[in-house]
């Protein structure tokens, strides 16, 4: 069976061939990982203090998202899962734009229509609007990739999902289409051992996730998902193949969800403590930090400083997002279609009049005054 690629061991020691990366880029990766962790921490706090309704822990899986984003160009597309804060942050989505979504405020690109962590961005990278239904974005990502080839472009689409996502119909149809049409797609499975409370061995009887590629004629690769350099390497190779017209790759990044499924979940009901302890040793940030110190890319003080800087950026972002108004009432009715049909127009007018005429904190235009 597929071996699992590792470049840095849990102690940060080199155990494989290190990809050639400039210091600048290593720094950027570290920064994105730190940003991700702080973003996650902050959201947990915001949720616990009742300022936002919900979040999805990303701690422990920063290496997957960041390592996978790093080989991409800004013209590539990402069809992310909800556990991919790191991809957006690495590629330059402002933390404040993400926080706008966490608060569902008027500045949220999704106009506060979705739950928190359901981001949507087109700038600086195509980070596809996240959907709650599991797996639906997988064939979509394949279609996106097919379109690029039809136009003769060499872009790729990175499609990210969980181990649970491999059971969805979207995984099956998406992988199958990608195989048949040789789409420039990279399938990245973040195998964090759990789908809410369902452990991997109740999710699938297959030996690994990577081997599932066989069913679609797609090469499968296994990688240590807590090793950002290894993730970088396998995604980099897959991207190169895809750009060259050599077709898709399935990557299984083996990692562990270090918290609950979401802020609504109590994992102590089903996750064994020992398992968490074991994985805590394999922390991706600790490992990468150690490597950077040993390679003298940064010293401890510089890392400390970067960490503080990231924490501050995130805190500022949260504050800024919190201060923004809710979306105007009229956003309930816009964006259903490009042109608003009559029946929706009538409902909008009725609704705004209904609430504003009773002084419900909304004026005739459907804006909230505060």
């Amino acid at each position: 069976m597929n071996a699992t690629l590792q470049i840095l061991d849990p102690a940060g020691r080199k155990v494989g061939k290190v990809p050639k990366l400039k210091h600048e880029q290593l720094l950027r990766m570290l920064r994105a990982m730190l940003m991700t962790r702080h973003f996650d921490d902050r959201c947990m706090k915001l949720q616990r203090t009742g300022k936002i309704g919900f979040s999805i822990p990303n701690t422990g899986i920063e290496a997957v998202s960041v390592g996978a984003a790093a080989p991409l160009r800004k013209t590539d597309w990402i069809a992310p899962s909800y556990r991919d804060f790191g991809m957006a942050l690495y590629l330059g989505v402002p933390a404040e734009a993400m926080m706008d979504n966490m608060f569902g405020n008027a500045a949220d690109t999704g106009r506060g229509r979705q739950m928190p962590v359901h981001f949507s961005f087109v700038e600086p990278v195509r980070y596809l609007s996240i959907s709650s239904p599991i797996g639906t974005h997988i064939p979509q990502g394949v279609g996106i990739a097919m379109a690029m080839r039809k136009r003769g472009e060499d872009g790729v689409c990175l499609i990210s999902f969980g181990d649970g996502g491999t059971s969805s119909q979207g995984f099956h149809s998406g992988m199958n289409f990608a195989g048949v049409f040789s789409a420039p797609a990279i399938f990245l499975c973040q195998n964090n051992q759990w789908a809410i409370s369902c452990p991997l061995d109740k999710q699938t009887a297959s030996e690994t996730i990577a081997i599932k590629g066989e069913a679609y004629g797609i090469p499968g690769v296994r990688v240590d998902g807590n090793d950002v350099l290894a993730v970088y390497q396998v995604v980099h190779d897959a991207v190169r193949r895809a750009r060259a017209g050599e077709g898709p790759t399935l990557i299984e990044a083996v990692t562990m969800r270090m918290g609950g499924h979401s802020t609504s979940d109590d994992p102590t009901r089903y996750v064994d403590k020992g398992m968490l302890e074991e994985w805590r040793e394999k922390d991706p940030l600790k490992r990468f930090r150690q490597y950077l110190l040993e390679e003298a890319v940064l010293d401890a003080r510089q890392i400390e400083q970067l960490d503080e800087e990231c924490a501050a950026v995130i805190l500022e972002a949260a504050k800024a997002a919190e201060a923004k108004t809710r979306p105007p009432l009229e956003t309930v009715f816009t964006d259903v279609y490009q042109d608003m049909p009559e029946h929706i127009r009538a409902q909008r007018e009725w609704c705004i009049h209904h609430y504003s005429s009773r002084g419900e904190g909304v004026n005739e235009k459907g804006e909230f005054p505060l």
Binding site: F54, G104, R113, Q169, I196, K202, Q203, R326, V336
Partner: protein
């Protein structure tokens, strides 16, 4: 007798039937050790073992498809769909298979199965944790569609659904899962499918509703006593398919003024059927337009969900409109 919330009553119904009938099974995502994301299946794996209450892979098509097979081969599966919004991967199994198996096989194969799913808004769930898809199922011959609005009914209707020889879509109003408690008898009892429940008396108008809209409509009716001095009847439909059409028409004729309420979008929604029935069989009794109060014809929003969902004031407005007509 114990005081139970609606979700506890669901749990009690499952436990009661599982104790009584070894063919009753529960399957779905996270229904095992976790007890379901709303705890509707809490303790069932502990009491009945993994063979009778078990987690499945993340595939609604598999849950319902395997459920159909289990049902055809002597079991009484109760499938949980984590949120009704996630039922659509199983839509083919439900609409093409469960609903049509008896018909296409001349009764040789049947699907005595329940599909439970929490539905509706009010928990800040946005587009995909708030939907009300009852109209899709109510338009599908071969299915039964049941929506309880109280703990007592939840237990009695769920037991009746499990005992029913045909597939039942059992939609649970999650907004009121824990909204109030009610006396619920211990042990087995059932509330027959296909009967409506008059929740509030009144003869000046009638409001047809179901699920989480029932308390909203009762509140609206109460307000109309104050604002108009008129008494509106409130009828909980409970079983959307097969509907007790005779009862609906009787209420409509007696009251002459009708309001229909649901959370789902208006266009081609379930309310349209109620209006149409009355317009076909009792129009001559109508003293006012038949007014629908529903979600808007948009997806379900998040931050502004309370402006999307019908509330007592909107229902009150509609009642006043038909009463003043």
């Amino acid at each position: 007798m114990t005081q139970l919330t609606l979700v506890q009553a669901v749990n009690d119904a499952l436990r009661t039937k599982m104790r009584e009938d070894p063919s009753v099974l529960v399957l779905g995502e996270d229904v095992g050790p976790k007890g379901g994301v709303f705890l509707a299946t809490e303790g069932l794996t502990r009491e009945f073992g993994e063979e009778r209450c078990f987690d499945t892979p993340l595939s609604e098509d598999g849950i319902v498809g395997a459920g159909i097979g289990l049902a055809m081969n002597g079991m009484r599966p109760v499938c949980e769909i984590q949120f009704q919004d996630f039922i659509y991967p199983a839509f083919d199994q439900i609409v093409s298979e469960a609903a049509k198996m008896r018909y296409r096989s001349g009764g040789q194969y049947t699907v005595p199965m329940v599909i439970r799913a929490p539905y509706g808004g009010g928990i800040r769930g946005g587009l995909y944790h708030s939907q009300s898809g009852e109209a899709y199922f109510a338009h599908t011959p071969g299915l039964k569609v049941v929506v309880p609005s109280t703990p007592y009914d939840a237990k009695g209707l769920l037991i009746a659904s499990i005992e029913d020889p045909d597939p039942v879509i059992f939609l649970e109003p999650k907004a009121i899962y824990r909204a109030f408690r009610e006396e619920v008898p211990e042990g087995r009892y059932s509330v027959p499918l296909g009967s409506t429940r008059q929740v509030r008396e009144g003869g000046d108008a009638v409001v047809f509703c179901y699920g989480a809209m029932v308390p909203v409509c009762v509140e609206a009716a109460r307000r109309v006593v104050e604002t108009r001095g008129r008494e509106a009847r409130v009828v909980d439909l409970r079983t959307l398919l097969p509907l007790d059409e005779a009862a609906v028409l009787e209420h409509a004729k007696e009251c002459g003024r009708v309001v229909v309420v649901h959370e789902a979008p208006r266009f081609c929604g379930y309310g349209g059927e109620i209006s149409a029935l009355i317009a076909e069989h009792a129009i001559e009794y109508m003293q006012a337009p038949i007014v629908r109060v529903t979600g808007f014809d948009t997806p379900f929003p998040n931050t502004l969900e309370h402006y999307y969902m019908p509330d007592a004031r909107r229902v009150q407005d509609a009642l006043e409109r038909v009463l003043d007509f």
